[in-house]
């Protein structure tokens, strides 16, 4: 019964979405306040209905109701409760439910928080969001119904893919989708602004917090996914340039560009057209990413042909969303105000350069991801595009963007002076030369690419510090004055400084862990020792046992290091009988500067076990850097919220300054 209510709520949400997507548009055109205000009610109602359906779906999973097909296919009574809950989004149907939940959440948030928005802009934005909801809900109900029944109900379910039964992956999809789908709201804002033919500083001020929110979610989501890959796949890789990863990385790259160009619109009323285009394309990339992952097209074009309904449906949705957006853009963009001019050497100029590089990088990732598919269609030839391609193309495109990232905030708006700027960054430039030189003195075999990477990381980190020192008057002012200045720097300044510093930390982690990792793969018997990175690993033995829904083989390894107390590590292999699959559970100890990473391999049948040991220097910095970047976004957001609230107190002033927004 409950399940039928969930199904019904979903259908009702579809109808509400239809109303939300049409009536407010008519209302905005006819300047009818009641019709426009319907958008808010509808957005909140649609979110409420979807949330109800989602809660019922989750309930069916937690009580293991195997009369629901999706629960039977993805759950099992022996599965731990945590994974019964998070297994909700482990399947196709469930992940689409999560998608639409996020979509309606953002619509509901704009409805609830967007009181300071002009009525017509709010109505149109929510209407577009409603149409997106309508498309997604139609897709779910039409092709991927999560509430489909299975009668008679089986006794037990088939269990979730064991790889997904993991804390890292349990929370990766909500963050990722929060980011992915969060960009739907910037898309809706962009389309609404095109309909209104007005994009200026005020529009950017409303859009930026949403873009920033989505971006933070996406950053954390991608970082969680890569961390999961690192500790689960058993050999210490953390990024594979896999189509699924690229699917989330492409909207991230465009979203990053969008954040920065929206800042230019807000501060300088320039780059309006470009920003709108980015907003459309960023969400377009989110949709393409969903299509990539959900249609099966990435494994092979043939997988797509096996079950084409879903793929074709998403493809039509993408065509409508991106195509419709671009057509509207082509019609309306030329009529938009041209931005204020700026010199090539200026903060705007540097941000334009970064935007172009981010877009070129995105296009490269896109090409590398889809090329095998295109090539197979037009030449019938199957080929692979591996990490080697992305290392050779994407990395050189993005490296100059990191150089410019440090320079841009130091440059003045409108017209900057390069010489003066570089003088301010002199300490960073010196560090960027000294750091690789020192390393080269220690390791003469270090390849040029590694040295360049080190230089880049030093430049990014020291550049941010030099900028902060300069802004706080360090070395010119007494220390308490410096401290006071630092404390009063705008949150936006702190935000980008923390985020950019994070990029430097991330690069250092990538370069050092790739260049200086060590590896030992040995067959060991109880009592044997293996030496790695100044540590002695003593293999004690393997114990076996049945735990929850799996059978475990657990190795005990004592790690000894001269001058410190020994620690014990337990790498594990798990066998999931219901799902018939084997997973590796690695054991990792970290001191923040390097990870000792152990994975247990196969037994050799004569009492020996294959042990894989890796020492990955600086690898935690990859995730520290990503978290710093996301934290920078949150810090910047903390100020936005304050600033968004201020106009609420004097709403009339805002509506007047926004022009003919007031319908009466």
């Amino acid at each position: 019964m409950l399940v039928e209510i969930g199904h019904f709520a979903l259908v009702l949400a579809l109808l509400v979405a239809l109303v939300q997507g049409t009536v407010p548009l008519i209302g905005a055109a006819a300047r009818s306040r009641p019709l426009m205000d319907l958008a808010r009610t509808a957005a909140l109602l649609q979110f409420g209905l979807v949330a109800l359906a989602f809660a019922i779906f989750m309930h069916a999973h937690t009580i293991s109701d195997f009369s629901v097909r999706n629960v039977f296919e993805n759950s099992n009574t022996a599965k731990p409760m945590l994974y019964k809950v998070t297994g909700v989004w482990g399947s196709h149907e469930g992940s689409m439910m999560l998608w639409v939940l996020m979509l309606t959440l953002f619509g509901g948030l704009v409805a609830a928080l967007g009181r300071s928005l002009p009525a017509s802009l709010r109505a149109r934005t929510l209407a577009i969001q409603g149409l997106l909801g309508f498309g997604t809900l139609a897709f779910i109900i039409g092709t991927s119904n999560p509430f489909a029944r299975l009668i008679p109900a089986p006794v037990d379910g088939r269990d979730l893919n064991p790889l997904l039964q993991d804390p890292g992956l349990a929370f990766h999809p909500p963050f990722l989708y929060f980011g992915y789908v969060g960009f739907s709201i910037t898309y809706s804002f962009a389309i609404a602004a095109l309909i209104e033919r007005r994009i200026g500083a005020a529009w950017a001020r409303w859009v930026r917090p949403w873009a920033l929110t989505a971006w933070c979610g996406l950053t954390i989501g991608i970082a969680l996914g890569s961390w999961w890959a690192y500790y689960v796949l058993g050999w210490g890789g953390w990024w594979y340039w896999d189509p699924v990863e690229n699917a989330s990385f492409m909207p991230w790259l465009l979203g990053t560009a969008l954040l920065h160009s929206a800042a230019v619109v807000e501060k300088r009323e320039s780059l309006q057209r470009w920003t709108v285009l980015l907003a459309i394309l960023t969400f377009g990339m989110s949709l393409i990413g969903t299509f990539l992952v959900r249609s099966g097209v990435l494994t092979s074009v043939h997988a797509f042909a096996v079950d084409p309904t879903r793929g074709v449906f998403i493809l039509v949705l993408i065509a409508l969303v991106i195509g419709g957006g671009l057509v509207l853009y082509a019609l309306r963009a030329p009529g938009l105000e041209a931005g204020s001019p700026f010199a090539p050497v200026s903060r705007e100029g540097a941000l334009v350069l970064n935007n172009l590089l981010l877009c070129a990088g995105m296009a490269t990732v896109f090409l590398g991801t889809f090329y095998p598919l295109f090539a197979e269609v037009w030449s019938g030839m199957k080929l692979s595009v591996g990490p080697q391609y992305f290392d050779a193309t994407f990395v050189p495109i993005l490296a100059p963007a990191v150089v410019a990232m440090v320079i841009a905030p130091v440059l003045a708006w409108r017209r900057g002076r390069l010489a003066a700027t570089l003088r301010r960054l002199a300490p960073a430039a010196i560090a960027a030369v000294l750091a690789p030189a020192t390393l080269f003195a220690f390791d003469r075999t270090a390849p040029p690419a590694v040295l360049a990477g080190i230089a880049l990381a030093a430049w990014a980190m020291l550049g941010v510090l030099a900028d902060l020192a300069d802004r706080s008057g360090l070395a010119k002012q007494p220390l308490d004055a410096v401290w006071r200045r630092l404390r009063h720097l705008p949150h936006g300044t702190w935000g980008y400084s923390i985020a950019h510093f994070g990029v430097g930390v991330l690069i250092a982690g990538i370069v050092v862990s790739t260049a200086w990792r060590s590896e030992r793969i040995e067959t060991v018997r109880p009592g044997d020792t293996v030496q790695i990175a100044g540590r002695t690993l003593r293999f004690v033995g393997v114990t076996e046992g049945d735990i929850a829904n799996y059978h475990a083989q657990r190795a005990q390894i004592v790690v000894e290091r001269p001058g410190s107390t020994p620690i014990t590590m337990y790498p594990e292999r798990r066998y999931y009988p219901v799902a018939h699959s084997q997973t590796t559970n690695t054991a990792i100890t970290t001191n923040g500067f390097g990870d000792l990473y152990l994975a247990l391999g196969d037994p050799d049948g004569q009492g020996g076990w294959v042990l894989r040991a890796y020492y990955n220097p600086l690898v935690p910095w990859i995730w520290f850097g990503a978290i710093l970047a996301a934290m920078g976004g949150l810090v910047a957001l903390s100020e936005r919220r304050l600033r968004v609230r201020v106009p609420v107190a004097r709403t009339p002033a805002v509506t007047v300054s926004a022009g003919a927004a007031d319908p009466r």
């Binding site: 090539p344 199957k382 595009v385 080697q388 495109i397 018939h580």
Partner: protein, 155 residues
């Protein structure tokens, strides 16, 4: 339906049961220089039955076979390129993770540099245009605003 499920499960169990792990000690060559070359090469070869893994990372049986095969070729005295050609001739271009520069991949390899050139050309053109605009006896922004007011009033 149920029978099909059992069949699939049995098949999975068979595959899962015989899972070998990536790069096993038993596969390794005695000569460290040759082994280093083998490791580097195995990163360039795709495990054909996996989803986007190199044979260096994969624990599938086929990956194991390919690792052994490429080591045999190295021991036989092949150069790196010869090993890659040998395996690509048997398994197709699909096996090469680093796509070679051939007619079918021209577009793949040439687009990124063209994109960067295009972006550079765009920036140069923009700054040229701006310079031309600036070289005209322009009005300041205040003057322009006043002109707009006056023109708007008279029109």
């Amino acid at each position: 339906m149920i029978r099909m499920l059992f069949l699939a499960a049995a098949l999975l169990a068979a595959l899962g049961g015989q899972m070998a792990q990536a790069v096993e000690p038993s596969e390794r060559l005695a000569d460290p220089a040759l082994e280093a070359r083998a490791r580097a090469l195995s990163r360039d070869l795709r495990c054909l039955v996996c989803q986007n893994q190199s044979i260096d990372e994969s624990n599938a049986d086929l990956a194991h076979d390919l690792r052994v095969l490429l080591r045999q070729r190295l021991v036989a005295g092949d150069s790196d390129q010869q090993v890659l050609d040998y395996i690509a001739a048997r398994y197709g271009m699909f096996v090469l993770l680093d796509p070679p520069f051939e007619p079918v991949t021209y577009l793949l390899w040439l687009t990124p540099p063209l994109l960067v050139l295009g972006a550079g050309a765009f920036l140069v053109m923009q700054s040229r245009r701006r310079r031309v605009e600036r070289s005209l006896p322009g009005l300041t922004e205040d003057e322009r605003a006043r002109a707009a007011l006056i023109l708007g009033d008279s029109g």
